[in-house]
C-alpha cells in the first residue's frame, strides 16, 4: 500500500478545515506530553518508535481505516520507518514530512483585512508553536512585525505581492522564539525598529521606537502608531495600524495575558502590566481589533484560522482583564506560572546579538510549546 509524505501545510489545511486526521506520534512519551500537533479534528495515539521495532501488528487494530493516518516523529526518520511497516501490513498511511521540526517552522499566511487604498494586512500563523507575526503591504512597500527566524517566507511573500520590505518591527525582546527581525532588515535593507528599553544590551544597530511614533508604509496613510505598553518586558510596545488594528505583542492575548517574569523581574513589572492593561488599553477604542503575538490554545483561532478579536470583547471575556483586586492580580501573574519556555535565556541572548547559534542549535532552542501567557 502507498506511503504519502504529508507536508506541514497540508496538515494545517486539514486542521483549519476541521477534517479528521489520526495522528500516530512515535516520539517518546515525554516529548509527546510536552508538545504535539494540536487541533479539534485530530485524534491521537502515542507509541514510541522503539516499541515498534519488532513490528506494528499489535497496534494495527488501533489505527482507523475510515480516515487518514499520519505518522509523526521529531525529524521524519522514525516516522518513515513506522509508515513503511504499516504499509507492508496493507494499509495506506502518511508521514509528516520533516517531522515536528518542520511543524515548528511552518508559517501559514492568512489575510486579516483589506486596508484602505488597496493595502492588505496579513497574519502569519506559526501553528506548531503559537507565534503570530504580521505583514502590512501597501503600494509596493511592506512592513513586518514580530518576524520569526524563517525570514525567507516573508521575503518570498513580499515579492509575490510586488512589495519591498521597508520596515521591520519587534514589539519587544522575545524570550520564546528567535526573532528574524535583524536578519530580515539586513537582507532587505529595511529599517529595524526596537523598543530602546528592551534593547539596552543589544549588539547591533537599530532604530528606537518611541511612544507616539508614527511610521508610514507605502505612499498612503497606512500608519503604524507605537504605543508604549510595558509589562511583559519593560520596553513592550503595541502598534495601532490605521486606528483600527491593535498589535498587542505579548501583553494581551485572546484568552490570556502576558507573563511578566521572563526577564526575572516579575515583581517589578506587575505594576506596569496592570497599568498597561487596565489603564492604557482601557482608554483605547473598544472597536480596535486585537492582533496578539501568540496564541496558546487552538480555541483562540477563529473559524478562518486567524487570531483576532475586538478589544471590547476581550474586556468582557478575557479573565486577565477582569481582576478588580490588585493583590489578586499580582498573585495570578507571579505565582503558579507555567514552566518557562525552553532555553529562554539563550533565546534572549540570541535576540540581543550576544550569541550566534547555528540553525540546528536555534531549532533545538525553540523546541516545544509556547509559554508566554498566564491564564
Amino acid at each position: 500500500m502507498t506511503i504519502n509524505a504529508m507536508t506541514a501545510q497540508q496538515v494545517t489545511q486539514k486542521i483549519l478545515n476541521n477534517e479528521p486526521l489520526f495522528i500516530l506520534d512515535v516520539r517518546n512519551e515525554e516529548a509527546f506530553q510536552d508538545w504535539k500537533i494540536e487541533g479539534k479534528s485530530l485524534t491521537y495515539l502515542n507509541i514510541p518508535y522503539f516499541d515498534l521495532l519488532d513490528g506494528v501488528e499489535e497496534i494495527l487494530d488501533q489505527l482507523p481505516v475510515d480516515q487518514d493516518v499520519i505518522v509523526v516523529c521529531a525529524k521524519e526518520g522514525s516516522s518513515v520507518m513506522v509508515a513503511e511497516m504499516i504499509s507492508e501490513e496493507g494499509r495506506d498511511v502518511s508521514y509528516l514530512q520533516g517531522g515536528m521540526k518542520a511543524w515548528s517552522e511552518y508559517l501559514e499566511p492568512l489575510k486579516v483585512a483589506d486596508l484602505r487604498d488597496g493595502g492588505e494586512l496579513f497574519q502569519f500563523v506559526r501553528i506548531g508553536k503559537g507565534c503570530l507575526s504580521y505583514m502590512v503591504v501597501s503600494r509596493g512597500e511592506a512592513a513586518i512585525i514580530d518576524a520569526t527566524r524563517m525570514t525567507d517566507v516573508y521575503i518570498r511573500f513580499a515579492e509575490e505581492k510586488g512589495a519591498q520590505v521597508t520596515h521591520v518591527f519587534d514589539t519587544h525582546l522575545h524570550a520564546d522564539h528567535i526573532s528574524g527581525g535583524r536578519e530580515l532588515a539586513e537582507k532587505t535593507g529595511a529599517t529595524y525598529w526596537l523598543p530602546p528599553k528592551d534593547a539596552g544590551e543589544v549588539k547591533f544597530n537599530y532604530a528606537p521606537l518611541k511612544d507616539n511614533k508614527i511610521v508610514k508604509v507605502g505612499d498612503t496613510e497606512i500608519a503604524i502608531h507605537a504605543l508604549y505598553s510595558p509589562g511583559h518586558t519593560i520596553g513592550s510596545t503595541s502598534f495601532v495600524i490605521n486606528g483600527q488594528y491593535l498589535l498587542s505583542g505579548d501583553i494581551l492575548f485572546i484568552d490570556s495575558i502576558g507573563r511578566p517574569d521572563l526577564a526575572g523581574k516579575a515583581e517589578d513589572w506587575v505594576k506596569d502590566l496592570r497599568e498597561t492593561l487596565y489603564s492604557r488599553y482601557k482608554e483605547l477604542s473598544d472597536e480596535l481589533i486585537v492582533l496578539p503575538a501568540h496564541f496558546m490554545i487552538m480555541d483562540e483561532l477563529n473559524e478562518n484560522g486567524t487570531v483576532a478579536e475586538k478589544l471590547g470583547t476581550l474586556f468582557s471575556n478575557n479573565h486577565g482583564l477582569n481582576i478588580e483586586d490588585e493583590t489578586e492580580f499580582r498573585k495570578m501573574v507571579t505565582e503558579n506560572l507555567p514552566p518557562q519556555p525552553n532555553a529562554y535565556q539563550e533565546i534572549r541572548e540570541t535576540n540581543m546579538g550576544k550569541i550566534s547559534p547555528d540553525e540546528e542549535e536555534q531549532r533545538e532552542m525553540e523546541i516545544g510549546p509556547n509559554r508566554c501567557a498566564v491564564r
Partner: protein, 186 residues
Amino acid sequence: MDIKTNEVLDAKGLACPMPIVKTKKTIQNLDAGQVLKVEATDKGSTADMKAWADKAGHQYLGTTEENDVLSHYIRKSSDEESQEKHHPHVVENDALQLFDEDTLILDVREAAEYAFGHIPGAQSIPFGELDERMDEIDDMKNIYVVCRTGNRSDMAAQKLAAKGYNHVYNVVPGMSGWTGETTKSN
C-alpha cells in the same frame, strides 16, 4: 571521562531511529549485566535511549558529552532480583551511615555504573575483576560490599570470605535503594 565498557557502538552521524535500532541489535549479543557504550551525535538520542532502556528492562546508566559526541552507557538486563543470597552476614543500607576509618565500602558494580553515581569514598572493583584485584582490598577493615540489588555483592562477599577475609558484610538492597549522598567520577 574514560569508562571501561564491554562493547562500544559507533552510531555517530546516524539520525533517529538508527541509534536505537543499532543499540537494540548490539545489546542482543552481550551477556546479561554487561555494559554497552553508544556514541551518537543525534541530540534526541539521550531521551530516547533512556525511555527505550527503561521499557526494555535494561539499565540506563547515564550520558556524557564531549566535542558534540554523546556517549550513552547502558547495562544489559539481568535477572538479579530473583536470585537467592548465600553470604551469611547481611546488613541493610542504613549500616553504611556509621562510616568510620575501619570501614571499607567495596562497590562491585560495573565501572560505568560506579562512574554515574556511587557512595563517596567507596572503592570500585567490578565483580568480574575481583579475583585478580583482590589484593587491593585492605583486609584489616570491615568490608561492606555493595552492588545495585545485593546479588553481585552477595557473590563477591562469598569470594572474599572464601579467601580468608573475616569481616565481610553484604549490603542490601544496595544502590537501588540508596537515598544518601552519591558522587560521580570525573
